[in-house]
Symmetry: D2
Subunit: 343 residues, 4 copies
């Protein structure tokens, strides 16, 4: 039974599993000196229409924290949304990898940072008492399940660049954002000013595969050593690279994301039609935050669904997440459980 708890509870998609199996033939050089890893840079460069440097890792936390460690000195500041995953859900990984940089949380409606608020927050450059402004990090799709429009990304990047800061995107749900906006990978990243992208695969059909993508290769100088030092240079790297190669080929990632987004739309429509239930934010990707009255929580729990308990943020409404393999009948069962008479 699908409970819509997160997209990281799903299995891996057939194309990715097939790639893992095919990669499991014979010896291959270790630590990324294999054919799969060697091909991956070309594949990603093609997808993003730009020569990029790619560093595969096995977890999203590593992907974000390693990227940020390349962009900020130990005495630096990373500007991010108050609810951002890097600030609330990674147990100080960015601080650890960067050697003690400070995350500066910025409030903002719909999980998004506004350019004015960012400009206001960036202070103290050159002042030896202040941690030094170093980079900005946004998530796409973001923590409220909403999307930055391309123009919004560009506006934030412009603020960052004007102050000499670099610009990072946490793309744990990058494909969902891409499909949601209907733009190209290039448009949503480097053309809008993104310097480094943490490109997620795990939540959208991979088994465990993320890629750190540098649109400005000169920022990646320390990365090979930082990745090794952190235990994220896997010896049998071919198995990560093979996942990513399959994921980014034949539109697998887009197809998976489209299914997730479509099911989120269906789920949200069902929810919105129920009296007393209301959507907390616009539905733009595959996460749905919803205001539920007590009777609705009871019905869902009785039917076996779990409603998040908001441990980390009391104000946060319950969240339901669809995934690459969510099916219409699963949505319909959920809505039916919630709509049931005589609960």
């Amino acid at each position: 039974m699908t409970r819509f708890l997160s997209d990281n509870v799903t299995s891996a998609c057939p194309e990715v599993m097939k790639a893992i199996f095919e990669a499991n033939s014979g010896d291959a050089n270790s630590y990324g000196d294999d054919d799969w890893s060697q091909r991956l840079g070309g594949r990603v460069s093609e997808v993003f229409e730009k020569e990029v440097l790619v560093f595969p890792v096995a977890s999203g936390t590593a992907s974000n924290a390693l990227a940020l460690a390349c962009l900020t000195p130990t005495y630096g500041k990373v500007f991010c949304h108050q609810l951002s995953h890097i600030n609330t859900d990674e147990c100080n990984a960015p601080e650890f990898f960067s050697g003690g940089a400070k995350l500066v949380p910025i409030e903002g409606a719909l999980g998004k940072i506004r350019p004015d608020d960012l400009a206001q927050a960036i202070r103290g450059a050159g002042n030896v008492h202040a941690a030094q402004p170093a980079c900005v990090s946004i998530a796409q799709s973001c923590e409220a399940g909403t999307l930055y429009q391309v123009g919004e990304i560009a506006a934030l990047a412009e603020v960052a660049k004007a102050q000499g800061l670099s610009f990072h995107m946490d793309g744990a749900r990058f494909a969902n954002g891409l499909v949601g906006l209907g733009v190209s990978p290039a448009e949503m990243t480097w053309r809008a000013g993104v310097d480094v992208l943490s490109l997620g695969g795990t939540k959208n059909g991979c088994l465990a595969a993320e890629a750190i993508v540098f649109f400005r290769p000169e920022l990646a100088e320390a990365m090979p050593f930082l990745r090794k030092r952190a235990g994220h240079l896997l010896s049998k790297m071919r198995f990560i690279s093979a996942q990513l190669e399959a994921y980014l080929s034949d539109d697998v990632w887009l197809r998976n994301a489209r299914q997730a987004n479509d099911m989120a739309a269906r789920l949200s429509q069902g929810l919105a039609a129920i009296e007393g239930v209301s959507l907390a934010y616009p539905i733009q990707a595959n996460e749905i935050f919803v205001e539920l009255p007590d009777w609705a929580v009871s019905r869902l729990e009785k039917a076996g669904y779990e409603v998040n308990d908001q441990e980390l943020d009391e104000q946060a409404p319950p969240r339901f997440v669809t995934a690459w393999n969510t099916q219409e009948d699963q949505i319909d069962s959920f809505i039916a459980a919630l709509s049931a008479d005589g609960a």
Copy 2:
């Protein structure tokens, strides 16, 4: 000419200088194994009416950051006011010394944290994705120049203790707070729930002397090593300890603080009497934040005073600080400059 920029621009007081000179006689064991340092624990214990452990250091940043490093694991959270010195003016020192802990900034009027807001902010204990709530740090006097009442300290400590957190006080201007409240050192610290105090001397008459005071010695286990590892175990420690001993003897620290506070009162009265000028916060210690119209800034600058440019916080009103050696005529000259006709 005194410009009231900060209390750290002052010279050291005669009693402290005398102690340094007297300590400069003959050989003495190094690294704190000297007579002055050995006596210091007793002196501080007497002052605080409790057996304490004392670790002298030469800077306030070290005093705060070392204390916090004893109270939080690398994956921990320190709860503090958004404007606190540890959060805004120490260039990531707390993050550095703690190995990457996260400072969680909390807003609050008059530079103070309210217990409800603290209780609301402490979340995620036991949740492996969340940095773990570890300690609370307040400043007394605080960043707005205001004071926590003893009951307010106790209320915050109670919130902290109820969640298993320890409680730290940044006492860079501890004596000013003490004199301002008119209570005993014990009442303002451990009796109200403070576990560790960073006791300042430098701003109030010392040359360079701060003391980390542990009211719960079991929290200090790692401190000797952390202090050495950070280069803050001075070889000729006697010169730091001698300062602190003189500072805490014969009411030197209280007399110095009283003079500073009295002069702040005089300055604030003078300011409040000028039409168009208003005090931003109540004056409770030796810092004065004041709303100045443009003509007032011009007059002061013409007379040679410097008005802070609020580099780190645009909203912050200009600040003037009195010190242990501020004299009445200095205050009067300042007020005269501001009140001058024909500016």
Copy 3:
């Protein structure tokens, strides 16, 4: 073609691949709250005949560095062999994860530390100027491909324990050691004094799976947070746990290791029979270090084998490694290439 460069160039064994595929069915709770991960502790406890705590990770470097981070404070010392992997091949990962602990390299014949040398090296406890002795780490099998006898392990552990240090074993090739000695997992670890084991799977048939095994659970208190903070708590952890479960079931790990060791024996016998070629160390597991005259290097390279260039240690003889899937005919081809007339 197998080139005997390392056991980490191999594919994963069928049992492990089957487990991955079977784990890929339906949703499962993330971050180790899945059935596979929940079962794993029991499986490992059974194998080691003791209730243990197990933390799966995806890389050997992470497994070692996380274990050491639990055993040493930031101001601590880790005693290890000069040639140990943690000292020479992990790009400062132990220093990173521990927050700056010092690795103290100890020389010793055959890649092994002698108890007397260890006892001599452990100094400075309680001396605030000295980094504090915290733990001892050995590898089994070790960097010279040799094995510590159970009594040798116990003797080192005794030295460590007598000084209050904990004892860690880098078991990247643990199964090869086990088969080489012909003892039980319990005998080679906790019964001999090992507190924490980094148990390798990747080199011996897994795709990417290692387990940190705590024989003294009280040492693991910080581990959940350290693992998460380092990005090594994978969201789809079931896929790591499933590998380990299959690996440790039905003697897969022992059978794989036996094959590797047997092939190493065959290879070493072939090598020793060639005039001018000599084994550098006794062959006790699956690594072979061999002194090769120039003509031998030429012949091997001409036949397509790669001879290590000893970049990190000029004195080190070339190394060849057999693995779980090495076949007799591969050995025989290698020996034939080396023995060839008229090369």
Copy 4:
């Protein structure tokens, strides 16, 4: 009574104390923006015959560790003598400040590294598994109390530079080395290839004053922030700078060092004349290592002298240290105690 335990047990010299007192007049800008600190750069540049950048701090450990943190990345290696202070006596400060760099200990007679051994030790550049060679650090005078000749320094620097490494000198006893060699500050540093010098004052007449001197200013970019972040940017910095200014003026530092060295010569001559007592190393500065028979230790202890117990290095012979204020009669009393009949 002088016990010759170390030169850090001494008082400060009159010139330095006078400078502190004179600096204690009126207000002065804080954090190094004062007249004394502003003048210091010029003074040091004059002394070293080169435009340098100078960062005063209060402790030698901070001076070394901050310098090294500018010269090595977190994944770097610092090559140093096995007995060097940075390796044995700073409780992991270099590891802490650098964020986890590795100190690679090199053996060498008389406390000195030989160029061949250094060249042999520098390995692994560009190899992602190896911590990256980053800098070389030597002490002058060194841990055996001996001196590198200028040519020896240049030879080591040449090895370092040929591999792209920077070169640091721990000059805790720099003046003693200078006087011992009879060369100029420039000759013993940048002309021989030194990039950064940790210039000691505390052991040779200061109260607490050290200076980090950059001969290549481009290496100092991060230093202001690293110093602040470590709590080593003192607010009343004028008191450190004033010490250094006085110390480096009117030959105070050289005169102090000459006295110390002269007394060491006198002490060593006295020791060498006693049958059964022998000098362990040549006496070239102000430290004397001496092989003492048991009866000699007994006599000294009976007379109130303390003989080091070699806690950190069993093989190390006892050490006696003379200082800027050691007097001939103190030497003579010591020798007399040791020579006494009927002990």
